[in-house]
């Protein structure tokens, strides 16, 4: 099933023509309306008329998150304020918050992207869509809300929090599709289990999860815990919000809504575009946005692209599940470590709970990394020796994947905080030293 079959199954040549036409218009728009872009293009000696095809995109300069911060709040808007109908902002945990705007048309396009995503994972207007993303400045809640509304599904705007009520709503309202962050889905699965409900008693069948990196192992845990199929939705507020790309029911990569966003994979150090299939930093160019059409926006997410036709019938390019962000990457004693690698290792060990927390510190000028893991019935024993052997297995597994030795600390069950939004899995104490 498709939401927009014509676009989603369009031949590559035809799609490229459509993209080129839209790209040209967008470049003109930003050149004429956004001082930062005009200056930067001039610096590179680029005039809008130099951009004729999608292949010319690689000659354009990048846009960085710092550009949004430097022009805070509205400096990159390419539409007048009377056309802007919505403003969202990022949480700003790593600096000044970034502000994004949408025109009426931008909101419609965004909703269509989300609706396409819901249909591609098997959703329809008959579904009851339970949105447990936060509503507010964060794009998750309203993004899924508008998309499901556009599709004609019944939306339950639960927002995040009050887990007991979430479970009552699952039961009483018969929610069929759950939308939230994967870490909250994990938490809900645990809460369902604790309340003595079997997933079979719930009507949930599909989960659409995003807004933070999660692993294949985590997907399997969630699917088992809630008795659903779990799908990835990708997006970032700077580009639009969730829905820029979404899994189809094949669960093999995320289809990018290419008629609105052109993806590229680049080498984050040199900025060179990498060939198909190679892993690098994901870069997006918005080609239909009116309020905030960012050109070659550096997402800092690491992914790769697959151009071959998908078994689901869609021809749009697929991005692989982002394995982490360049800025989530920890450098421990010179070795690059992604929290998602730790997650994969832990979930591959029988009986280890998916809740963990990484603490990085510097002791005597040496980086240390410790992973707190919750004690579970299968790790526990009355014998110290047996527990320490299991601890050693975890340490060995982490060492062989990460190539650095990592401390493991066993903590009490349910003592690692559960997240209702984006999980905070790392504490880096080196920053305060």
């Amino acid at each position: 099933m498709y939401y927009n079959k014509k676009i989603e199954t369009m031949e590559r040549e035809e799609l490229k023509k459509l993209q080129a036409e839209r790209l040209k218009k967008t470049v003109e728009r930003v050149y004429n309306n956004v001082p930062l872009y005009r200056e930067r293009f001039d610096e590179y000696g680029i005039k809008p008329e130099h951009i004729k095809t999608v292949d010319d995109l690689k000659n354009l300069p990048f846009t960085y998150k710092t550009d949004l911060r430097d022009t805070y709040p509205y400096g990159l808007f390419a539409a007048p304020m009377d056309e802007v109908v919505r403003i969202h902002a990022s949480s700003g945990t790593t600096g000044k918050q970034t502000v994004v705007g949408y025109t009426k048309n931008d909101i419609d396009v965004w909703a269509e992207c989300v609706a396409r995503g819901i249909v591609s994972v098997g959703g329809s207007d008959k579904d009851i869509v339970h949105v447990s993303y936060g509503y507010g400045l964060f794009t998750g809640g309203l993004g899924l809300h508008d998309g499901a509304t556009k599709l004609g599904a019944a939306v339950v705007p639960v927002s995040t929090g009050n887990t007991a009520r979430q479970i009552n709503i699952f039961k009483d309202f018969g929610s069929t599709i759950l939308c939230c962050t994967p870490s909250y889905a994990m938490y809900l699965a645990e809460a369902v289990k604790d309340s003595g409900i079997s997933p079979d008693e719930l009507k949930l069948r599909i989960g659409i999860f995003g807004a933070e990196p999660w692993t294949e192992e985590m997907r399997q845990e969630i699917e088992k815990g809630l008795g659903i199929k779990a799908y990835d939705i990708y997006g970032l507020s700077e580009v639009c919000g969730p829905g820029v790309a979404c899994n189809c029911y094949m669960q093999n990569g995320l289809h990018v809504q290419e008629d609105h966003f052109i993806p590229e994979i680049i080498d984050p150090d040199t900025g060179e575009v990498l060939p198909e299939g190679e892993s690098g930093e994901l870069v997006f160019t918005c080609i239909t946005k009116e309020a905030l059409p960012l050109i070659r926006y550096r997402t800092r997410d690491i992914s790769s692209l697959i151009y071959g036709k998908c078994e689901c019938g869609r021809t749009t390019v697929r991005m692989t599940k982002p394995c982490g962000r360049t800025d989530d990457m920890l450098i421990i004693r010179g070795v690059n470590v992604f929290p998602s690698q730790v997650e994969s290792v832990l979930l591959n060990i029988e009986g280890v709970s998916p809740h963990y927390h990484i603490t990085v510190d510097r002791v005597n000028n040496l980086d240390t990394m410790e992973v707190a893991v919750e004690m579970s019935p299968s790790l526990f024993s009355d014998s110290v020796k047996v527990i320490q052997e299991k601890e050693k297995i975890i340490k060995q597994a982490l060492l062989s994947t990460l190539n650095i030795s990592v401390g493991v600390k066993l903590v009490g069950p349910k003592t690692i905080s559960r997240s209702e939004g984006k999980a905070n899995r790392v504490t880096d104490l080196r920053k305060n030293k």
Partner: protein, 142 residues
């Protein structure tokens, strides 16, 4: 009846042990014997209680990680050499002891020792053959 020990995971943080004993106290569970194993980052509280199955259930409901283990109880004399006799018998029978803890009884000149060994059957056999009185689970469990 066999003796079952309740083992509880204790995070190495102040107040964690009291959290466990509070739950036991609130549920009227009397501790007959206990021992704590501690390492640098965690501990294991081992308990002999009247109703190990009920205790396990209550502790689990309160969010603790718990396991039940069969252990052996032996009566020894509360005199020098009392423990030594038992340990020698087990050693001669080639049985390894994982851990043990002992306590004296309120009446009589006797003490009890709780043993966790690698081979229950042969340990019990060796002790019985050497006239060591094994403690029946009924002495602790109701």
């Amino acid at each position: 009846m066999e003796i079952y020990q309740v083992s509880v995971f204790v995070e190495n943080k102040s107040g964690k042990l009291a959290d466990i004993t509070d739950v036991l106290s609130e549920n009227g569970i009397n501790i007959r014997a206990l021992c704590i194993a501690d390492t640098a980052d965690f501990g294991i509280l081992r308990l002999i209680v009247e109703d190990p199955h009920k205790t396990e259930k209550i502790l689990m409901e309160n969010g603790f990680t718990v396991t039940l283990t069969k252990v052996i109880g032996a009566r020894i004399s509360d005199t020098p050499g009392g423990l030594s006799t038992v340990l020698r018998i087990l050693s001669d029978a080639g049985i390894s002891i994982e851990y043990l803890y002992a306590f004296i009884e309120k009446t009589a000149d006797r003490a009890s020792v709780i043993l966790r060994v690698d081979d229950d059957v042969n340990a019990e056999k060796a002790l019985t053959e050497n006239d060591v009185e094994l403690i029946d689970g009924d002495a602790f469990h109701e």
